[in-house]
Amino acid sequence: MYTIELFDVLTTAGVLYIVALGLLVVYGVLKIINLAHGAFLALGSYAAVIATWLGWNPWSALLIALAAGVTVGAVTEWRVLRGLYVRPLDTILATWGLNIIIVQSITLYFGREIQFAESAVTQAVRVGGVTYSLYRLILLLIAVVLGMLVWLVMRRTQMGLVAQAVIMNEELAQALGINTRFVRFATFCLGAGLASLAGALITPLVSVHPNLGVPWLINAFMLVLVAGVSLGHLALAALILGGAQVLVSSYSNSVLGSLTIVILAVIILRFRRITT
């Protein structure tokens, strides 16, 4: 009876989680909100377009997107952000500027019109008595796998542990001889790569145009504000806020539903105890 609603809630949470992951990683370690996140999403979607042009398997778009995101992220961190960490407010301006540069570069090359990208999976499957979009179910699985991978990297690798140390107390970490500069660099590359990957992953759901990242950026931003720096909290926030959005849209209407994430985020922020 409620299978459809359950699937809608879970898969929406999965999509939100995928989209917000890169933003959270950057925010966690660098303490900056990457306003170019939406542009990195777009970059990933255009990777899917390029894969289609080259006639490659649609799944290869994920690798192209990851590579493109990491590359652009690396150059940005190296040339732009590195000098700005002492002025956190200026990073907002810098990443927003970067957003404009990436989006306009895409527009210059591809134009403003929508582009076609081949989807790997377009069919629906019958599960639990209902017909449901197979790709959304796959996305849910990918969200879980991605979440676990990032968690493993953070908890089980040298790199991750160092990053944790930087998150907890940067000055102390620096005093212990940790190369925080490299940690920041690697984290921004990872965050940008994850954002582009997310762009390639949502491409089968949406149309590809230069500003496709904008609506997703807003939701991802709200989720990260609520979740802080924890991966577990992000999953919870995606489930609660995304779920609420789906349920309000289902039982009331979509106009109200679209407000749900923002309103809930504000309420949660108002009543959350300050931890960090």
Partner: protein, 390 residues
């Protein structure tokens, strides 16, 4: 005393030099200036270049025939930035600086609403070439594209009669045009004895249609009628609908040929109506498409349902001026409703209410995203748009 003397000398110099310049002016005939305020930047920038190309081809054809009343035709594209503020600037520049004899253009409704009063005050004819929500009226304002009354009822009737759709689900983007089109569709559905199982609107910036698609599935209608904002949102909705495994007939009030093609197979099977498709099978359309290809080659922007009307607009204006024998605005607007231009869409003549009965066609998106014209409904009247005119 010296000063006054100086001015007198200056006046003398000017007076003697004017006759020297004047013959140069009259040697070349003053061109007929056609201003095109169009969204070269902003949301309309996807379609604006095609509009300008349509105008350039029409101007070339007119000039090849010796211009209008023997005067050369000059088109002046101006950027209206796809919005009202830009339109005010573009209209003022076109009318006062470029001394436009006429404005012929496709714009957003907001831009048109801002520009039309300027043309009206300056008494410059304004031929609007974009389909729109209807009922924009002015003594100098003419429209040669469709209003909802012309495209919505044929589509609903076709789906009811041929596709046996009785129980409908209506979906729209939450903005004036989207809601207006759905209202028009609901009215026809009720007139045809159909029922509306559900009606849902999605905010413009939302690209995830999950909740609405689940509602459609729960309602299980015979068919879907939808109207999103133009371009991308059509593909967002159709891609997700297809992925969800919903296969009922779909009628679209917002898709266009270019969007359908960019969507690949996302829009496969979707029905829609309009006054212009590149696939219209008549000699005028073939000639138009060939001439466009020849003139612009690799730079050609595919002619479409928002750009072809510009071509018709220029030709209709030229016919009106020839008939009136002058570019004098009041003479031109008097004869404009009496000229018919047989162009790529078929024969189009605007009426006393400054709107045009139009040939309307039914089309369906094919598996490769290309649009196939299925049926010609013949001329369809726009109904009472501006009863106060005349």
């Amino acid at each position: 005393m010296r000063k006054v003397y100086g001015i007198q000398v200056l006046l003398l110099v000017l007076a003697t030099s004017i006759p020297a310049i004047a013959p140069v002016w009259s040697q070349e005939k003053k061109p007929v200036v056609i201003a095109i305020p169009v969204g070269l930047s902003g949301v309309n920038s996807v379609v604006a270049p095609a509009v300008v190309q349509s105008a350039e081809l029409a101007a070339d054809e007119l000039n090849a025939k010796g211009g209008i009343l023997g005067r050369p035709v000059k088109v002046v594209p101006l950027d209206d930035e796809s919005g009202p503020a830009g339109a005010v600037k573009a209209f003022n520049t076109g009318i006062h600086q470029d001394k436009a004899d006429v404005i012929i253009t496709m714009e957003t409704s907001a831009a048109r609403n801002a520009g039309a009063p300027i043309a009206e005050r300056a008494k410059v004819p304004f031929i609007y070439t974009s389909f729109y929500e209807g009922r924009a009226c002015g003594e100098y304002l003419f429209v040669n594209a469709w209003v909802p009354e012309q495209v919505v009822p044929p589509l609903i009737k076709f789906m009811t009669d041929e596709k046996k759709v009785k129980r409908w689900f209506a979906v729209g983007s939450d903005y004036a045009f989207g809601r207006g089109m759905i209202e028009a569709a609901k009215k026809t559905i009720k007139d045809m004895g159909g029922t509306i199982l559900g009606e849902e609107y999605q905010p413009l910036q939302q690209s995830d249609w999950t909740a609405i698609i689940s509602k459609i599935r729960a309602a299980n209608p015979d068919g879907i009628i939808y109207s999103t904002s133009g371009g991308g949102p059509n593909i967002d909705f159709l891609k997700q609908l297809k992925a969800a495994g919903l296969t009922m007939p779909i009628g679209s009030l917002s898709i266009d040929e270019l969007t359908a093609e960019a969507g690949g197979n996302a829009a496969e099977g979707v029905y829609y109506t309009g006054d212009y498709f590149t696939g219209i099978d008549n000699p005028e359309n073939k000639r138009f498409l060939d001439a466009m290809k020849k003139k612009f080659g690799a730079d050609l922007k595919t002619p479409n349902a928002l750009s072809e009307q510009e071509y018709d607009g220029l030709h209709a204006y030229a016919m009106a001026v020839e008939k009136a024998g002058a570019t004098n605005s009041d003479a031109v607007i008097k004869v404009l409703p009496s000229v018919a231009f047989k162009g790529p869409r078929g024969s189009v003549q605007m009426n006393e209410q400054h709107h045009a009965p139009l040939p309307i066609y039914l089309a369906q998106v094919q598996a490769d995203g290309k649009t196939k014209v299925l049926k010609d409904f013949g001329l369809i009247d726009p109904g009472d748009q501006c009863p106060k005119l005349k």
